[in-house]
């Protein structure tokens, strides 16, 4: 109990802040902050596994998040039969063709010795393959995108419950991480950072512009939810009774029946959104707790100790017979898969997939701020970082407004300088993030909750 005091007090303060938002602003707001805090926590756990456990920099978090979101679309949307009819066969053919290219390249790499001829061979296979792909997919893509372009114009998904996508998203992200890891993990730390950042941009470019896959920038809206809809809830008997029971005190004050009905109706509408968000928060909490247990177990297992050894001294670990390259790849895939889960969770919560909204500032650098601020190498720290930074990110605007009003209280309401500052309130969050990160890195470089290593 004593030694975990810092963790407990930090989390109590955090939850207290969210509850404070509930009282001061609205419960709806507080719960949506909580949901996004939980999603951020999953992302930071993924990044923390890579950076905190193994010391790998991955600036491609945005790419894995987007792939998780893509998984949510591909799993939950019902298939567009018409599109499959017009272009399905060619697209499947293309998938086989890609597999064929990959295998023949692998075959050449394995079979022949290093030489210029081999490189030309690989290049020839890839170029011929790409031309064939273009020829086969071109007309198919055109006809798929022509199918009812206002609402579909893509192949659709599998029509399964969206909860499956959380696992599928993990696999998608893991597969991408495997490819990237094979290419880039040999690079030095900062090269790896830049390479992953750029590769994630490529992933976003593909998702944005391949309309047959997930409608690209035209967005997919109205994804199915794993929890009830507000409109359905408002008509359900048991829910109305529940609301009535909760607000007994307020309702009893009103004697007029008509007025009472009116108030009850309003309360039902308000509580239905809160109830939906509570369900989401519950689901997300389950995911966070499961991941926390697994990562915590892994950290204190022999495997976790080995990862720390690799992180702190690669050569020594190598000399002790640990396969550094293989372990790096493994942890790269695992961490990215967790980020993929978070991406799918986020799209599930939003109910829509908007590839245009994936920007490195929000999905890569902000997550890194969370990990550094929270405490790398410590799962509780990473989760706390996710909570604290997201809270600040959302609440930055009210805080900034308060500060501006406080410091410019001497100026008139219509003063040009004051108006300008008030108009640029949204950008103060960048300032707060930056200053916060710099302060933490200077005065508490190991984060709010630093890594704890048991010395045996």
């Amino acid at each position: 109990m004593r030694k975990n005091l810092d963790v407990i007090s930090a989390y109590t303060i955090m939850l207290g802040l969210i509850i404070l938002v509930g009282f001061l602003q609205s419960w709806n707001m507080a719960l949506s902050i909580l949901c996004f805090c939980l999603i951020s926590a999953v992302m930071t756990m993924g990044a923390n596994i890579q950076w905190g456990y193994a010391g790998l920099i991955n600036f491609g978090i945005m790419g894995y998040t987007a792939l998780g979101g893509l998984a949510a679309v591909l799993v939950s949307v019902p298939p567009v039969k018409e599109a499959w009819q017009v272009g399905g066969f060619n697209m499947i053919l293309c998938a086989f063709l890609i597999a064929l290219i990959v295998f023949s390249v692998r075959f050449i790499i394995k079979k022949y010795n290093k030489s210029a001829k081999k490189n030309y061979g690989i290049a020839a296979v890839i170029i011929v393959g790409l031309i064939l792909l273009r020829l086969i997919s071109g007309p198919a893509i055109e006809s798929i995108e022509a199918v009812n372009p206002a609402t579909t114009g893509f192949l659709g998904g599998m029509g399964l419950p969206i909860l499956f996508s959380w696992i599928v998203g993990a696999f998608f992200a893991g597969a991408l991480a495997y490819i990237i890891g094979k290419i880039a993990l040999g690079l030095r730390a900062d090269y790896l950072a830049i390479a992953t950042l750029l590769i994630s941009e490529i992933v976003i470019a593909v998702i944005k512009h391949e309309d047959w896959l997930a409608r690209g920038v035209k967005n997919v809206i109205g994804l199915k939810r794993p929890v009830p809809y507000e409109v359905d809830l408002q008509t359900k008997e048991w829910f109305i009774n529940l609301v009535e029971k909760f607000n007994q005190g307020a309702l009893n004050l009103i004697t007029d029946t008509l007025e009472r009905q009116e108030l009850l109706k309003q309360l039902v509408i308000e509580s239905s959104t809160v109830f939906v968000k509570l369900c989401f928060a519950g689901l997300f909490t389950v995911v966070v707790i499961i991941l926390l247990i697994i990562t915590q177990k892994a950290l204190y297992s022999p495997w976790g100790r080995m990862m720390r050894a690799i992180r702190d001294n690669e050569e020594a670990a190598n000399a002790m017979g640990k396969n550094v390259v293989k372990q790096h790849l493994l942890i790269f895939v695992l961490g990215s898969a967790i980020v993929g889960i978070a991406g799918a969770m986020m799209v599930t919560y939003d109910g829509l997939f908007t590839p245009g909204s994936y920007r490195p500032m929000r999905y890569t650098f902000l997550i890194w701020v969370m990990v550094i601020v929270g405490g790398s190498g410590n799962n509780f720290g990473a989760i706390l970082g996710g909570f604290a930074v997201w809270f600040l990110w959302v609440e930055a605007a009210p805080i900034a407004l308060f500060l501006i009003n406080f410091f410019t209280s001497g100026l008139e309401e219509t003063n040009a300088f004051r108006v300008h500052l008030v108009n640029s309130i949204p950008y103060f969050r960048f300032l707060m993030m930056g200053v916060g990160l710099l302060l933490i890195m200077r005065y508490r470089p190991r984060g709010i909750l630093p890594e704890k290593i048991k010395h045996i």
Binding site: L187, L198, I202, S424, F428, R429, F430, V435, P445
Partner: protein, 336 residues
């Protein structure tokens, strides 16, 4: 005649735009490469430092315009640029004093410094958006074209026009001047040589009495100058929007790495490699082949290797290929 038309077509749509875009990237890539070579970390604030310098150039441009000062057919921004540079230099030096110098004395690993530069990236971005806002700004004035398509057609009697914007020429001229001064400075002056020595081998350089503080300060000053000039030229040629500048950080990094990071000359060429490959691979060659092939062989597709949506992806793919086969970049050679 058809052949000439084809050449003019390529010049107009490929060569001239790629040359000016490449120059803008090259200026950015050189300072990223310099910082990497001398301060030894990946400077993620690159794009935002460019937007910071451009912002002050724009503010001074507006100020001069309100005073009625202009350069005739040249854009007023050229006059404002030195003032923007001075403020950017002050900004990077203050930033170095407050933030980076601490980590240098602590001998922190490069990764730590890269993270710190992400912190300064957030701060710089906030400053730019708070001061000038996130919107698109055009601040070009003066003569827009040096050569208009119609004039060219009349002059030569060709079907295809050649347009040369004055910003493109200004970009090229300024780049040539700045880069030649920079390489003269690095290769011929004592300070430049001491910088190269410091980049090559820090310990040896310190032993031979090179003042590290001076080297670091000069590096930041050069970075601020190049960032402001590169940013302002980009803004003149296209338009100024903080978000685009942040995004430009990516091709700039790609250019610096392709050219062999830590090697300014490589970075300079890397900028053009990235710009040309982006435009070459996403250009639709249909019209070009219509001109040079006989009518019977006329192509019916667009003959575009990749859709323009993948412009960014092209440069990054080149980067990935380079990293795979030559991790030290195309022009490794000497360091710095």
């Amino acid at each position: 005649m058809d052949f000439l038309n084809a050449i003019v077509l390529l010049l107009n749509y490929l060569f001239v735009p790629a040359l000016s875009y490449g120059s803008q990237l090259a200026l950015g890539a050189i300072f990223v490469s310099l910082i990497y070579g001398i301060l030894r970390f990946a400077y993620f604030t690159a794009g935002d430092l460019m937007s910071f310098g451009t912002m002050f150039t724009i503010l001074f441009t507006w100020y001069f315009q309100s005073l009625g000062i202009n350069l005739g057919f040249l854009p007023t921004a050229l006059l404002a640029m030195p003032f923007g540079i001075v403020i950017t230099i002050l900004y990077v030096l203050i930033k170095d004093k407050l933030v980076f110098s601490y980590y240098r004395t602590q001998k922190s690993p490069p990764v730590m410094l890269a993270m710190v530069s992400i912190g300064t990236m957030f701060v710089t971005q906030a400053i730019v958006r708070i001061v000038i806002g996130p919107f698109d700004r055009r601040f070009f004035d003066g003569e827009k074209f040096i050569l208009k398509a119609n004039e060219f057609k009349e002059m030569t009697g060709l079907n295809e026009g050649l347009t040369i914007k004055s910003t493109q020429v200004i970009t090229l001229l300024v780049t040539i001047i700045v880069v030649s001064i920079l390489f003269w400075f690095l290769n011929r002056t004592k300070t430049g040589k001491s910088m190269r020595a410091y980049s090559d081998n820090e310990d040896l350089a310190l032993l031979s009495g090179i003042d590290p503080k001076k080297v670091v300060m000069i590096t930041w000053i050069i970075a601020a100058i190049l960032a402001t000039i590169g940013g302002a030229l980009y803004g003149l040629d296209k338009s100024f929007k903080p978000f685009t500048y942040f995004n430009n950080m990516l091709p700039i990094f790609a250019a610096a790495i392709v050219g062999g990071i830590g090697n300014p000359f490589g970075a300079f060429l890397g900028g053009y490699v990235i710009a040309f490959s982006e435009i070459l691979l996403t250009y639709a060659y249909r019209k070009f082949f219509v001109y040079i092939l006989p009518e019977s062989l006329e192509p019916d597709g667009l003959l575009q290797l990749l859709s323009t949506d993948y412009k960014f992806a092209v440069s990054f793919s080149i980067l990935v290929i380079v990293l795979l086969f030559r991790p030290s970049g195309i022009f490794k050679g000497k360091v710095l």
